[in-house]
């Protein structure tokens, strides 16, 4: 409790979030009274970002910067806008559709949020959307990445629970589509209320737009082909996207200049560093929480409260929301699942596939919930929106996500139905 008060105080004072987390973690370590733990602090701080998956961050930020400078992002979005047609808030819906398509290729929310912040937000702003709202839609779209397969989070759950990853992916499809529908509905409602512009009929002909976008389409195509062709991991595919962008930008559109490269690299380095510092400090904090055995204590507390599966499920989700507020999805998953899955399947009879989808959906929302949410801060940082403002604007999206979680938690067919149909 003291540590949460300290943390909140430092946040309100305006300390950078990463350093407020670091202070809280060091404080909590000191409170254990075990000085040997401090000898592990530097290694654990470093270990927090020593992860292959995080490479998506610099790679996709750089890709976004370069696609923007090369004019590829603008052309691709114009193409996508053609498909949606004259709907109120159409460009926001385009952003969601693009996010869903990317989610089916990538598994990383942060990669998605960085890319779309660079590509879609400037376009929406140009079309007359308020920037904070554009950033909120983009951040919400990032929630699709870990839910629609393939998903790093579901794979980690499968490895931890020792259940086949393929079955988990199938179980995630319907909830993922429901989440997409919910986000689209929130966007449509927001578009009406804020009176967002209707996508105008393009000034140039459809044929011209398609033709202009064709070379830019090489960028996503290079990425998809390299993944499906078995050449690259999702992170490596980002570097092929970068290469394709360079070719298209220099040789075809001729909008990219050599002078653009250095600023793009510097901006990428600064943005990734800011987010990675947050991740490193949060990693230290979740390490000390694990060391103190807090998850097991929470497990004992909850299973001592009730023998009713439904009540357990609700309490479990409530706990996940609280954990998701302060811990990012991947470390949270590693903390929670080994403790709670045996209880949920053993004592309350839940299907591990359902638990997997519910857990991953719920923890994913944590990316956008303050005070610790790397998705929230990434979107805030990249779009120059105040984090507290962005948090308020993403609230309806989180509520929609919560409704999907409730459906999945209370109704096993949502996650299990498709799998039974396929068998």
């Amino acid at each position: 409790m003291t540590v949460l008060a300290l943390f909140s105080g430092l946040l309100v004072l305006g300390l950078p979030v990463a350093f407020a987390i670091l202070a809280a973690a060091l404080w909590q370590i000191a409170a254990t009274g075990n000085p040997a733990l401090f000898l592990s602090v530097p290694q654990q701080l470093f270990a927090g970002i020593e992860s292959y998956g995080l490479l998506a961050l610099p790679v996709f930020i750089l890709l976004g910067e370069l696609m923007n400078a090369a004019g590829a992002g603008r052309r691709l979005l114009a193409l996508a806008a053609l498909a949606v047609g004259p709907v109120r808030g159409g460009l926001a819906q385009v952003t969601l559709v693009a996010n869903a398509m990317m989610a089916a290729i990538l598994g990383s929310s942060v990669a998605q949020i960085t890319l779309m912040s660079k590509l879609a937000v400037p376009e929406m702003e140009r079309a007359g959307y308020p920037r904070d709202l554009a950033a909120a839609v983009t951040a919400a779209g990032g929630l699709l990445a870990p839910v629609l397969p393939p998903s790093m989070l579901l794979i980690l759950f499968g490895v931890t629970a020792q259940i086949p990853v393929g079955e988990l992916f199938v179980a995630g499809v319907v909830p993922g589509l429901l989440l997409f529908a919910a986000l689209a509905a929130v966007t449509a409602a927001g578009a009406r209320r804020r009176n967002l512009p209707v996508a105008r009929r393009p000034a140039t002909g459809r044929g011209r737009i398609v033709l202009a976008a064709l070379p830019s389409a090489l960028v996503p195509l290079a990425m998809i082909a390299s993944i499906l062709g078995g050449i690259a991991t999702a992170v490596e595919a980002g570097t092929f996207g970068i290469l394709a962008t360079l070719v298209v930008g220099f040789a075809i559109h001729r909008e990219l200049r050599v002078a653009d490269l250095w600023p793009a690299l510097k901006s990428t380095a600064l943005t990734s560093a800011v987010i990675l510092m947050l991740v490193a400090a949060a990693g230290l904090w979740s390490w000390i929480a694990a060391w103190q055995n807090l998850p097991a204590q929470a497990g004992a507390l909850i299973s001592g409260l009730t023998s009713d599966p439904l009540v357990f499920m609700l309490l479990y989700n409530l706990m996940l929301i609280l954990i998701g507020m302060v811990i990012d999805p991947i470390p949270a998953l590693i903390l929670v699942v080994p403790v709670f899955l045996p209880i949920a399947t053993g004592s309350y009879g839940f299907d591990p596939l359902q638990m997997g989808v519910v857990t991953c959906l719920n923890l994913t929302l944590g990316l956008l919930t303050p005070p610790v949410g790397s998705g929230l801060f990434t979107a805030a940082r990249l779009n120059g929106v105040r984090p507290e403002r962005l948090a308020r604007l993403t609230l309806p999206y989180l509520a929609a996500g919560g409704a999907v979680i409730l459906l999945t938690a209370l109704w096993p067919a949502v996650s299990g139905g498709l799998g039974r149909l396929l068998n």
Partner: protein, 186 residues
Amino acid sequence: MEPELSTQKAPGALARIDAGLARAELALAARLTGALALVLAAAAVARSLGAPLIWADEAAVGLMCWAAFAGASAALAQGAHVSVSILESKLSPRAGWWRALAETLILAALLGWLASVIWRWLDPAGLWQAGSGQRLAETAFNFVWVEPTVTLGLRKIWLWSVLPLFCLGAGVHLAARLARLAEAAR
């Protein structure tokens, strides 16, 4: 973010060191970021040609970690870290000065704490006495200096050494920030 502070010139030499160091840190981070993208692309190409670069993943992650801590120090100089500005936006200039002072002093204390932790971890005095990392590991069970990397053929300390450098860099930036605050008070 504090553009009003970061654009003000701190007095004299300290300001020049602050700005120059931040530029150098960011330039380093940018080059490392470019390098990690190249390493990853090369890894994919080499693997598909049937000659995987086994060191590539660890190298790319190592480059990212270095870039992250170097860049995080530069971000401190540029006021680029994400923070919550609820309080800041409501304060008078005078109260704002006190807030900035409190923030800077707390950051300095925090980094001092981290630096002391890192000092104990690296135990440079013990290393000096023991004469080698291997001896330190045998006599004091401190393995920091002999820890290997898995695939790079380097000692891990080359990667970890960015941590003390981060503390030093951040220390310089915070000192310059204090100097700017003192200047503003006059």
